[in-house]
């Protein structure tokens, strides 16, 4: 491939890509999540059995990933709304993306203990 012919966008394009990827992942989880919740109409045992898998360390890690995807999609979604409806939005889109990522990191650090704490205790004992 000749150098310089492949379009590599900057913040705008990569946030668009990340928004798509996280959106699709969240949507697929949503299907599964409605199905597992529907088990409350089958029996308390069936529901509790499936929910037990949500409490295992491996799935807890996946939940942390889900939280990461949802928080990015939510914060970047608000940025998109600002770009579309706020007159100065397009001019500040890069600043807003870095703000989104900053808030995202803070929230992800905050979610570490609540989401993964029980998994760490289970794996390493105590």
């Amino acid at each position: 491939m000749p150098a310089g012919t492949l379009y590599r966008g900057r913040e705008g394009m990569w946030s668009w890509v990340a928004h798509r990827v996280t959106g699709v992942l969240i949507f697929f989880f949503l299907f599964v999540h409605v199905l597992d919740t529907a088990l409350v109409r089958v029996s308390p045992e069936a529901y509790d059995e499936v929910v037990a898998t949500y409490k295992t360390p491996l799935v807890a890690l996946l939940e942390y990933g889900l939280v990461a995807a949802i928080l990015f999609h939510a914060l970047n979604g608000l940025r998109i709304v600002a770009v579309d409806f706020w007159a100065k939005g397009p001019r500040h889109q890069k600043t807003m993306l870095w703000t989104v990522l900053g808030i995202w990191i803070v929230l992800m650090v905050g979610a570490l203990y609540p989401v993964l704490g029980h998994a760490v205790r289970e794996v390493f004992g105590s």
Binding site: R20, G23, V34, R41, A74, L78
Partner: protein
């Protein structure tokens, strides 16, 4: 206006004498996307504009609903460890949380379905592939929304 422009406007200076005036108007050029009787049915409405607007409005509401949901289910009061049939029964005893979950289900499913519709339209190039992928998407969406709604409305804490 035309009397003035024909003699002194910048256009006349650059391009010579104008061919058009009040008595000889320039031909009207149809807007390229004007809707006519031949416009395909699918593009005669403002559907795409409303879909675009819906994504923004539902998105703002979903930020509140979903982050609240995550706080309750994964963070507060022991996080995921407390979840079980009894916890669900306790929450759905209140109409407030029933409405919360119902709104979240409908908005999230429609928001996600429209998002995936866009993704399919972007990447599935063959007409047939695109059509069937969207049929699959719509079927799965209707099924899931109806199932979830039925579960919320017919929930029975004394099922056993």
């Amino acid at each position: 206006m035309s009397a003035e422009t024909s003699s002194s406007s910048a256009i006349s200076d650059v391009e010579g004498v104008s061919l058009y005036d009040v008595d000889h108007p320039a031909p009207v050029i149809e807007p390229p996307r004007k809707r006519t009787g031949k416009t395909p049915k699918g593009s005669r409405t403002n559907f795409e504009m409303y879909a675009w607007l819906f994504m923004r409005l539902s998105g703002i509401v979903l930020v509140v609903l979903v982050i609240g949901h995550l706080l309750i289910q994964l963070v507060l009061d022991g996080g995921v460890s407390k979840i079980g049939f009894a916890f669900v029964a306790g929450r759905w005893a209140s109409p407030f949380w029933q409405v919360w979950d119902l709104a979240m289900l409908w908005l999230a499913m429609l928001h996600g379905a429209n998002g995936l519709r866009t993704v399919i339209n972007d990447y599935a190039e063959r007409d047939n592939t695109r059509f069937w992928l969207k049929m699959l998407l719509y079927t799965a969406t209707v099924f899931t929304v109806l199932l979830g709604t039925l579960v919320i409305f017919t929930f029975d804490p004394n099922i056993r």
